[in-house]
């Protein structure tokens, strides 16, 4: 013991060779014998005023702790430095304190006041670290102080401090579980927190302190679902696994009407999409579905969870992928579970430990849902370099996946495995073959033959394992296999593995009537070697003897008696018992006649064939991905996965005030102003409308159906969007330094969300517009087409603005919502891209903003607040609108320079009293302005923009879309481009320039009369080109 610390110090000293005079290597070596003296040098260093010495000393002390050496006697010397100004020293002192405070409780109290001071520090990082250390000191006396600190921190401005508070909750709980009630209050408060930073930590605290209080989740359920993608990975795992449990208590089983679903999968699918489209706000679907019960309609919240977790299958973290996989396995309808297979297979290419865990779970899943993994059969093939434990798990999965169709491949694969050098693995393979043979009747004989061939293998283990498996297989159809039994009987001479010998003996005994000549001879041999056999073999010898005696007593009577006599004096009492028992049964004596009459029935009763089952058969009653599942035993603290409820609990508990509103207002709105807000209401609640099927929208709904799901989603997301953004922002500004990465993520997703909604709603608008156009086609357009290079050309020559104005009225994208009137407290804001050049700055896209006030008070001082824009993007604000009376509407124009990207411009819309976070994301087609050029110029420019800058896509124009004007109109709707006159009749050319950089965008559509067409876009701006092609193709083929 005494030598060890010296070694520790030696190392510590050498770690910092910079200060040889205080390294004291030789000195500490010299005084190691006197224990109380050995840290004197360190104490001295800690007592000096020099920070560098203190730091050196602390480093050596921490090094000792890390090596597991005891440094507790330095506690007083260290604790003095808790208030040290040097941050490096302080950090190390904290580390020391957390480690030893529990052992030196009284002294630890000395440090408390420092932390209490730290809790009030203006710097959030210091507040957080003070709370962190304070809560990590496991001293029961300070429980009230901790409680106070946690409560305070839970309402701190900084999300990072709140996160630390969430972390502190389980610490305090483990120190003093009496505080539970108070802690639950704090948890409840933190659960309502809207930052992604806190979400994971507080759910963790929830799981440790009060996992049974599922009621706390209701109000936060939707928020958690929506935040999920932005939470850090560890938090995601915890939240997903908690939500899995939650969903099991709150929703109905999606598989309860499996048959119904299967009969009409299409319908069910759309049905579920539909009510999901209503968003988390509307409880309508759920309430109407409840009384009916059949057919099953998924709760929109259930759908929300499934939808929001799905992208996480793409996470880099294996733990997150597994968490989502188990969620889908436990919660998703059968038809949807399949998506997880690919992601799980991906994990198999990760580290072997990850493979080990994933394979365990795949093994369980593959029993229930074989079809899911069948396409990936080859991914489970075994490589000779796999560790044995992985090999065996893969084998398990392969066996589970084997079916009538793929069995030949699987068996061929197994054949290679049998030749492996890894004997444990070979044994497992043989077992696997046995299981395949029992499960798939068709190959039973093939397998059996294969196994019999293995009996001549040189490796005894292989032979033994084969015998055991053959025994099980033969039991299924013994009559046909007399030959094999004979073959096995011969093996008793050579094979030494007890289990195999026992199996052979049992087989011969059981089916002795098939081998009447051999059986007695085997018994003779066994009797001879009886004393030398293993116990299990001896038992089987007795068995064999008894059976033979009953069937063929003439030949075997003496042998049997001999064996029984030997057994009577065996050392093992099991064998002695068995012998006694058997003798009483089979050898009729005067008294015991009653039983011996039934001896034949007892011994030779037909026995059911064993069922070879996977050891993973019933594991799925444990939540997948859990430790308990892996161990197949309940681990401490495991939360049972509840069964689905019979009746769905009241779904309205998850309602938060605002969405309840949205529903009614939606309705009103649609009734009030159906026609003028055509496009608007569609973006809002398109699918609902088609369900209602007013005659008008019916025609539109057909063409929309493809975009339906998308636009449905957007409606639910867009009203969340604004909340989320504001939350994000609040958290972000404070947390900038520490959470750079997550921040970026947050940004991304919030803008993405915006983009999603706007693009999908604009899609539906486009369709609606074309619809209108078809009814009353713009007459000027026909002219254009006929005239070709005629009079309009002259008109074009006057400069870009006029044609632009000519083009734009028909093609300017429809209104899109910026702020819903519910979210805006009565203020509704829409925007349109006017396609007119913005007067202030030619690089800006001009956006018309329409305000309407539907509240009953005037809205004052509408203006744009400080925009928080991605770099490069700039905004020209609209002049402040002083007042907007109730019921009134007004329009303002603002300019946005999108910098040739489709990034959203996020800014605040301020009224006198409120601020709203809004974002405008332009469709790519709005980022350009038409230019005029002649055919020759066009060709010349096109010639310059080949290669990388050229993007070509083939498409087929639908029938309705072959006439000139429709094509032109569709293209110009999508993109703000000018038509270039062209000689050929079936070629269309358009040109424009991007607004910011002025790069040319040239679009050529070469349409054949058959409908085949080729679209070419030439532009320096690759990204814009690609997106434009996509948009145009979509518009044309719709």
């Amino acid at each position: 013991m005494s030598a060890a610390p010296a070694y520790g110090e030696d190392k510590g000293g050498s770690a910092g060779p910079g200060e040889p005079e205080y390294g004291h290597d030789p000195a500490s070596g010299g005084i190691f014998s006197s224990d109380y003296k050995r840290h004197d040098d360190l104490k001295e260093m800690l007592d000096t005023n020099k920070d560098s010495l203190k730091l050196e000393a602390m480093k050596r002390i921490v090094a000792m702790i890390a090596r597991g050496k005891n440094a507790s006697d330095l506690f007083p010397a260290v604790v003095k430095n808790v208030a040290c100004k040097n941050i490096e020293v302080k950090k190390l002192v904290y580390v020391y304190l957390v480690r030893y405070a529990e052992e030196q409780q009284d002294l630890a109290l000395l440090s408390i006041s420092t932390f209490q001071r730290g809790l009030k520090d203006p710097n959030q990082l210091i507040r957080a670290s003070a709370l962190r250390v304070l809560s990590s000191i496991r001293v029961p006396i300070i429980v009230p102080i901790m409680m106070l600190a946690i409560k305070e921190a839970a309402s701190d401005m900084s999300p990072y401090v709140r996160k630390t508070a969430a972390h502190a909750i389980p610490k305090l709980y483990s120190l003093d579980s009496d505080q539970k009630d108070q802690l639950i209050e704090v948890i409840e408060k933190l659960l309502a927190d809207k930052t992604t930073l806190v979400a994971g930590s507080v759910v963790m605290a929830f799981e440790e302190v009060c996992p049974e209080r599922i009621d706390l989740i209701h109000k936060n359920y939707r928020k958690l679902c929506n935040l999920l993608i932005d939470v850090e990975e560890w938090g995601q795992v915890v939240i997903i696994s908690m939500l899995t449990r939650y969903a099991r208590t709150q929703f109905l089983s999606p598989t309860q009407n499996e048959s119904l679903l299967e009969e009409n999968p299409e319908k069910a699918f759309y049905g579920s999409e539909e009510d999901e489209a209503k968003g988390p706000g509307s409880e309508e679907a759920a309430t109407t579905a409840l009384p009916a019960r059949k057919p099953y309609v998924m709760d929109p919240d259930h759908r929300l969870l499934l939808r929001n977790t799905k992208p996480l299958l793409q996470s880099r973290s294996a733990a997150v992928v597994m968490a989502v996989a188990q969620l889908y396995f436990h919660l998703a309808p059968k038809a949807e579970v399949g998506v997880i297979a690919k992601a799980l297979v991906r994990l198999l290419r990760s580290h072997s430990e990850v493979q080990y865990v994933v394979l365990q779970n795949v093994a369980t899943m593959s029993i229930k849902r074989r079809g899911m993994f069948e396409p990936y059969l080859k991914s489970f093939y075994i490589r000779s370099t796999d560790p044995t434990q992985i090999k065996i798990l893969k084998l398990e999965v392969l066996t589970n996946l084997a079916s009538e169709t793929n069995i030949p491949t699987v068996l061929r694969e197994f054949q290679t495995y049998i030749r492996s050098m890894d004997k444990d693995f070979v044994a497992a393979t043989i077992q696997a073959i046995g299981r395949c043979a029992t499960n798939i009747g068709r190959v039973r004989d093939t397998c059996l033959n294969g196994l019999v061939q293995l009996l001549s293998n040189r490796d005894e283990l292989v032979v033994a394992e084969s015998v055991v498996v053959i025994k099980k297989l033969l039991q299924m159809q013994p009559a046909q296999h007399g030959e094999i039994i004979k073959h096995l009987a011969k093996l008793t001479d050579s094979i030494q593995v007890p289990m195999a010998r026992a199996s052979i003996l049992w087989l011969i005994g059981e089916y002795c009537e098939h081998v009447p000549k051999i059986a007695p001879d085997v018994l003779r041999k066994m009797a001879k070697s009886f004393t030398a056999e293993e116990d299990i073999v001896k038992l089987q010898v007795i068995n064999l003897a008894a059976k033979l005696y009953l069937t063929n007593s003439k030949q075997t009577k003496l042998l049997t008696q001999y064996v029984l006599s030997l057994a009577k004096y065996d050392q093992n009492y099991d064998i002695r018992d068995r012998a006694r028992f058997t003798r009483q049964l089979i050898v009729p004596s005067e008294q015991g006649g009653a039983l011996s009459r039934h001896a034949k029935k007892l011994f030779l009763a037909p026995k059911p064939a064993p069922v070879l089952e996977s050891s993973f058969k019933d594991r799925d009653h444990f939540q997948l991905g859990s430790l308990s599942h892996l161990l197949n035993a309940k681990a401490t603290g495991y939360q049972e996965l509840p069964d689905w409820p019979e009746e769905a609990p009241d779904p309205s508990v998850r309602n938060v005030e605002v969405p309840e509103w949205t529903k009614c207002s939606n309705r009103e709105k649609r009734k009030e102003k159906e026609k003028p807000f055509y496009s608007d209401s569609e973006g809002e609640s398109g699918p609902t409308e088609s369900a209602d099927s007013d005659p008008e929208s019916e025609s539109a709904s057909d063409s929309k159906s493809s975009s339906e799901s998308g636009s449905g989603e957007s409606s639910s997301e867009s009203d969340k969007g604004s909340h989320e953004q504001s939350e994000e922002e609040g958290g972000k500004r404070k947390m900038k330094k520490r959470k750079k990465v997550t921040e970026a993520q947050g940004d991304a997703s919030s803008s993405d969300e915006g983009s999603d909604s706007s693009s999908s709603s604009s899609e539906s608008e486009r369709t609606s517009e074309t619809e209108e156009e078809q009814v009353e086609p713009a007459s000027w357009r026909k002219k254009t087409d006929k005239a070709g290079t005629g009079s309009l050309l002259a008109h074009f020559h006057t400069g870009p603005p006029p044609p632009l104005q000519l083009l734009s009225p028909g093609s300017g994208a429809g209104r899109q919502e910026l702020l819903h009137r519910v979210a805006g407290e009565g203020l509704a804001v829409d925007y349109t891209f006017s396609r007119q050049p913005f007067s202030g700055d030619p690089h800006m896209v001009s956006v018309h903003i329409h305000f309407s006030n539907s509240s009953d008070t005037p809205i004052k001082g509408l203006h744009v607040g400080t925009p928080k824009l991605p770099a490069g993007i700039s905004i020209q604000e609209f002049p402040e609108i002083e007042s907007l009376a109730p019921g009134e509407s007004t329009t303002a124009v603002m300019g946005i320079n999108f910098c040739d990207s489709t990034q959203a411009a996020n800014f605040q819309l301020c009224t006198q009293t409120r601020q709203f976070y809004v974002s405008i994301q332009p469709p790519v087609g709005e980022l350009m302005a038409p230019v005029f050029m002649s055919e020759n110029e066009f060709k010349k420019e096109q010639g310059k923009l080949t290669g990388m800058s050229e993007i070509t896509e083939k498409l087929t124009l639908p029938d309705g879309c072959r006439s000139d004007h429709i094509v032109v109109q569709k293209v110009t709707t999508v993109a703000n481009l000018g038509r270039v006159p062209c000689g050929a009749s079936d070629e269309y050319r358009f040109a424009g320039r991007t607004l910011t950089s002025g790069s040319l965008v040239l679009l050529t559509l070469d349409a054949r009369p058959t409908g085949a067409a080729q679209l070419t876009v030439n532009s320096e701006k690759m990204v814009i080109g690609t997106m434009l092609v996509k948009d145009v193709v979509q518009a044309l083929t719709q």
């Binding site: 770690a15 480093k59 921490v62 090094a63 890390a66 090596r67 597991g68 190390l92 580390v95 529990e102 990590s136 389980p170 963790m204 993608i229 850090e232 990975e233 560890w234 696994s241 992208p311 793409q314 996470s315 880099r316 973290s317 294996a318 733990a319 968490a323 991906r346 290419r349 580290h351 072997s352 430990e353 990850v354 865990v357 080859k378 000779s384 044995t388 434990q389 050098m421 040189r458 991905g625 430790l627 161990l631 035993a633 681990a635 401490t636 330094k737 990465v741 970026a744 991304a748 993405d752 969300e753 983009s755 991605p870 770099a871 910098c899 990034q903 990388m948 690759m1022 990204v1023 690609t1026």
Partner: protein, 403 residues
């Protein structure tokens, strides 16, 4: 969650311990040692070992066992993923993660571990955030940079305020051909990025042929929706090295396998000598050289020794482990490397019935075997012009030839 962490070297010494809650005695590792003994080989130690009061979850990397002690139910992958993250972090901090390096930097290691978990729940696990909290050792850092730079062959150039290097690695493609036909092959690739840009650059990376990618997983910075809709990687990168994307190309799109192996390994019943011959040759490499070729094979137990002559490179045969290893180097298509000779077998014993599997490692520079091509990388949000570079590489994954 995670109670404690023990670092154990291959000789069974606990050389570092860290506790995030009350101290757990190191004697708990005895259960681990038992399991280790039973497993014979390090990689066969079960990753999860239940003990009466605790559960031990371990990963084995760089010849070190990282053993986490937990007390209550927790998803095992959560812990395993975390342990791997710890190793990655160490690697990022010190360049290599080995016992001597950890011992030399024990204070930094301890501090890093302290920051990574709070009360056993992960706190800061991104290495760029950690590096802001705890500075990596400076001298080492520079050395490390040059080393990794060389290793990965990155286009890595220090420029005044920023450096940008993108590195596209496409390794791990596994296949097991038997008698000429490929049993299974797949391409698994990653795009590792090294970004050193100031400010908040917003990058977009587009591919020429994104449809090729069958299954992808992203760094958390990548905007998922953008990928879904446009197949463009849009992200605000963290500083330094990170794995932007890993992907999988399914077997249907498989490009030809660039190497072939001809083998003739035969044992005869009568004699105690066996013949052994391997030739490696290139196949459709688009003019690129195959380098770093190493052939390894686990010979059957019955093989006592081998006397072989390689046409190039060096070879070793370990008579104890029966491992044959042949370091070939580059393949010259004009003169194909081969390894010929005899095996001496145990006298009297019958011929081994198992055939050795041949494992192959190789690298091809400047070639992505999947055919994946980066189209362009654009930066938004910052005014300066970044330095961009890309490097393609193909590495054999678990390339096995069954004989």
């Amino acid at each position: 969650m995670i109670h404690s962490l023990f670092l154990i070297n291959s000789s069974g010494d606990i050389f570092l311990e860290k506790h995030w809650k009350s101290v757990v005695s190191r004697s708990v590792c005895d259960y681990f040692f038992e399991a280790q003994e039973r497993a014979t080989e390090a990689e066969n130690v079960p990753p999860v070992i239940p003990t009466p009061h605790h559960y031990l979850l371990s990963v084995y990397r760089h010849k070190i066992f990282f053993v986490a002690v937990i007390q209550t139910e927790v998803p095992p992958l959560f812990v395993i993923e975390f342990l791997h993250r710890v190793v990655d972090t160490f690697q990022d901090y010190f360049g290599v993660c080995s016992e001597p390096v950890i011992k030399d930097n024990v204070v930094v290691v301890y501090e890093v571990l302290e920051e990574m978990l709070d009360n056993g729940f992960p706190l800061a696990t991104e290495s760029n955030i950690l590096k802001e909290l705890i500075k990596p050792p400076t001298i080492l850092r520079t050395v490390v940079n040059t080393i990794t730079g060389m290793e990965k062959g990155e286009t890595h150039r220090e420029l005044p305020s920023w450096v940008k290097a993108l590195n596209n690695l496409l390794p791990a493609f596994c296949l097991i051909p038997i008698s000429g036909s490929t049993i299974t092959a797949e391409i698994q690739g990653v795009i590792d990025a090294c970004v050193k840009l100031t400010g908040m650059p917003d990058l977009t990376l587009s591919f020429m042929n994104p449809r090729l990618l069958d299954d992808v997983s992203f760094h958390p910075c990548v905007r998922f929706k953008r990928w879904e809709s446009e197949r463009i990687l849009s992200f605000i990168p963290p500083d330094g090295n990170f794995r932007l994307l890993s992907y999988h190309v399914s077997a249907q799109n498989l490009v030809a396998i660039p190497v072939y192996v001809k083998h003739n390994i035969s044992f005869r019943d009568s004699s105690s000598l066996g013949r052994f011959e391997i030739t490696v040759g290139p196949k459709q490499t688009m003019g690129k050289t195959i380098e770093g070729v190493i052939v390894t094979s686990q010979m059957p137990k019955g093989v006592l020794n081998m006397s072989l002559t390689p046409s190039q490179g060096t070879h070793t045969f370990d008579p104890v482990t029966k491992m044959l290893s042949w370091d070939v180097g580059k393949i010259n298509p004009q003169k194909l490397p081969s390894l010929k000779g005899t095996m001496s077998l145990q006298a009297g014993a019958s011929k081994p019935d198992e055939n050795p599997t041949i494992n192959l490692q190789f690298k091809i520079q400047q070639l992505a075997i999947s055919g994946l091509k980066v189209n362009r990388l654009d930066m938004y949000g910052e005014k300066y012009k970044p330095f961009k570079g890309i490097k393609y590489m193909t590495k054999a994954g678990k390339f096995q030839v069954r004989t």
